[in-house]
């Protein structure tokens, strides 16, 4: 039951509040636009939240919590689910104990991402139920429902949001707390949790059977809603497309799907039969359309041009009228750039002067590709700088190979760089290689989150600090140097040139706090010093 309390929350804040009301015992994830604020908000309202080094580890930690009988929430952006896909696909075979909800925050239109993948595919591929809220109220309601579904059928559940759900603020009327009846405690279940082939074979059948049951339940579920209207036009939609379509065609009758996998096929068939014309309004791929066509339903999809970028009200109007004339280009704004005073500037100025072939990575420093630097040659995914750089070194003619340098940020290095260093040490190219870690002491791009290399946890309290130089040396890298690129007497460029001239394995750590994070870091450090001083004073009393 909704209360009279009325809040204006982003979808991300609504998920955090619902997680608190669901009694989530552990929230874990890796920062990524547009998902980052969920765990930050969860921490602010008193929920236990922590950053994992990457999404795979986050999901694994969440799984452990579930096996222990606790509800766990794990959050990530759409491409983060690729990193977590390995545990996800097998987790589906395993009986969850405590409810486990994975939030996938997709970025149609690629406001801040390297691709536009549609993570609705994951529900089908991994055999996991998926919920898609249409606003912050549904983000709140569906999070609670997702935990209950997860525990009822002992399955991980994906809550799939998009930028316009995550970052849109809409009214939320929260309800009462709905914690789990399960208490944390260990119960052994070897065939249920140890996925050797002998146990995984029956587990595959089991998860398919669970999905059939959930599909059956979904036929009556109030997670899907009918908005009655004129029978001449029927629309089936999910996510934010529900809102765009209701505005674009207020007269139409609509089936808004909330639990979008497994589909309530009988209900959909009845809906399609009840209208003269039925149009599928879905953002991204033609997934729902294709699923309904396979069933032989007489539905219309959207022209291919609307697969790309976000939907909005005018685009939905065009889809409904079959308009495929070229669209007006959206206003071309000013592109982002490295901040004034950012030490990545010195780094990319040097790389540009040195005419390096730069295997780049994901973070603020990817902006080194834009003028005036134009000092980046590749950017694929988190951690790819090292592997791609090594591949280039292995195969280019020597004179070109010696120009190759891998550039990776500090948070990205922790996320996916360590295995790249192992590869470099294990399979060194004939000309050696140089990895440049641009360490600005924060996860800058997503809004300055902590990571294992900052020495602070999600809530900025002190934590163990990973020492990149020591790690690289311990892994077998011959030359490791730490340099501040903004201190001329430390001669960043000269030392990098010297490294590039050796046919050896080298890591240079260009260390300088992000100019936006530096004042915050000083504040956290000062608070810590004061706390320590108080403790010391208390000890001597």
């Amino acid at each position: 039951m909704a209360s009279t309390e009325r809040l204006l929350l982003s979808g991300n804040e609504a998920v955090a509040l619902a997680a608190l009301h669901a009694g989530v015992k552990l929230g874990t994830g890796y920062p990524g636009t547009p998902s980052t604020e969920i765990l930050e908000a969860f921490d602010l309202i008193g929920g236990p939240a922590q950053w994992a080094p990457n999404e795979k580890v986050a999901l694994e930690v969440a799984l452990g919590a579930s096996f222990a009988g606790a509800r766990s929430l794990t959050t990530m952006k759409h491409v983060g689910v690729n990193v977590a896909a390995d545990p996800l696909f097998t987790a589906a075979y395993i009986d969850m104990t405590g409810g486990l909800v994975l939030v996938s925050a997709d970025d149609p239109g690629m406001a801040s991402s390297q691709n536009e993948q549609d993570n609705r595919h994951y529900a089908r591929a991994a055999i996991v139920p998926m919920l898609e809220p249409a606003d912050a109220q549904e983000a709140y309601d569906f999070t609670l429902a997702a935990f209950e579904l997860s525990e009822r059928w002992k399955v991980p559940v994906i809550l799939r949001m998009t930028t316009r759900i995550c970052h849109a603020k809409t009214e939320v009327r929260p309800g009462p707390e709905r914690p789990s009846s399960i208490q944390p405690g260990y119960e052994r279940d070897i065939p249920g949790r140890v996925m050797i082939p002998a146990y995984a074979r029956p587990a595959h059948h089991k998860v398919r059977a669970k999905m059939e049951e959930i599909a059956q339940w979904n036929e009556q579920s109030d997670l899907n809603r009918i908005y009655p209207g004129d029978r001449s036009l029927g629309i089936i939609a999910s996510g934010v497309a529900v809102m765009h379509a209701r505005e674009a065609a207020p007269e139409a009758t609509m089936l808004a799907l909330g639990l979008t996998w497994p589909l309530p096929m009988q209900r959909i068939k009845e809906f399609v039969a009840s209208v003269d014309r039925c149009v599928i309004i879905e953002e991204g791929d033609h997934l729902l359309y294709e699923a309904l066509k396979v069933e032989g339903l007489d539905v219309e999809g959207k022209p291919e041009m609307y697969r790309f970028s976000e939907l909005n009200v005018p685009r939905v109007r065009r889809i409904l009228s079959g308009d495929t004339t070229p669209e007006a280009k959206p206003p071309r704004g000013k592109p982002p750039e490295l901040c004034k005073g950012c030490s990545h500037r010195e780094v990319f100025e040097a790389l540009s002067r040195m005419d390096c072939i730069v295997a780049g990575d994901i973070g603020c420093y990817t902006l080194g590709v834009l003028p005036p630097f134009e000092a980046m040659d590749t950017c694929v995914c988190m951690g790819a700088a090292i592997g791609v750089g090594l591949g280039l070194r292995h195969t280019l003619p020597d004179d070109q190979a010696r120009r190759v340098v891998s550039v990776i940020g500090d948070s990205t290095f922790v996320h996916s760089g360590l295995t790249g260093i192992a590869e470099m040490v294990y399979n060194p190219p004939p000309t050696g290689h140089v990895v440049l870690i641009v360490d600005n002491s924060t996860t800058a791009m997503t809004g300055r989150q902590e990571h294992p290399g900052t020495g602070r946890s999600l809530n900025h309290e002190p934590a163990n600090k990973m020492d990149f130089a020591a790690v690289c040396r311990a892994m077998g890298v011959k030359n490791v140097e730490v340099v501040d690129p903004q201190k001329p007497d430390e001669d960043f460029e000269g030392r990098l040139r010297a490294m590039m001239e050796k046919d050896e394995l080298s890591v240079m750590i260009a260390e300088r706090p992000c100019i936006l994070a530096a004042p915050l870091i000083r504040k956290f450090e000062k608070a810590q010093e004061e706390k320590q001083a108080q403790c010391a004073a208390a000890m001597t009393d």
């Binding site: 801040s112 009214e171 765009h244 909005n312 009200v313 005018p314 000013k334 982002p336 750039e337 791009m445």
Partner: protein
């Protein structure tokens, strides 16, 4: 009541999102249904930022459709032309030039001054706006932003009078 559509535009670091928070909080506390959305991420690196605020009795999509904005608030001169397309015919543009250079103690409160100019064209009490300033901003910023807001209101009143004269 029809939905009121407002687009706020500027560059990263200018407080576009903060201003849309103030505006949406004010409308929400006045009892309206409010939806606001923007795209975060790359925006904080000095790139273009826009934020959409919509309020009324019933609001559906969180995005203002192109060409349907009643008001366009722009915080940076270079962003005026590229965003003009949001406005509906007869929609009101409030550009940064409306707030005279040097009139603000701190140009960082330009966002709140522009909201001040907007405020005289909307039906919310001045008190409601001041309450939003108090809830959305840190305490040390209250005075400077209340002054910026008051200055913006004067500008807005002049704009309103100019428009009336134009109409005659």
């Amino acid at each position: 009541m029809a939905v009121t559509n407002i687009v706020l535009a500027g560059l990263g670091g200018q407080g576009v999102v903060k201003a849309s928070d103030l505006l949406s909080t004010t409308a929400f506390n006045a009892g309206f249904e409010v939806k606001k959305s923007e795209v975060h991420g790359m925006s904080q690196r000095g790139g273009s930022v826009t934020s959409d605020v919509r309020f009324g009795e019933k609001v559906l999509s969180p995005m203002v459709p192109m060409g349907e904005a009643d008001f366009l608030l722009v915080f940076e001169s270079s962003q005026v032309d590229i965003n003009r397309g949001w406005l509906k015919p007869g929609g009101v543009l409030i550009a940064p030039e409306a707030i005279p250079e040097g009139a603000l103690r701190n140009r960082k409160s330009l966002n709140v001054a522009i909201l001040g100019a907007l405020s005289v064209m909307l039906d919310f009490d001045e008190d409601q706006w001041i309450r939003s300033i108090h809830t959305c901003l840190a305490e040390k910023l209250h005075t400077v932003n209340e002054q910026a807001f008051a200055l913006g209101r004067e500008v807005g009143q002049k704009m309103g009078r100019a428009k009336e004269t134009e109409g005659v």
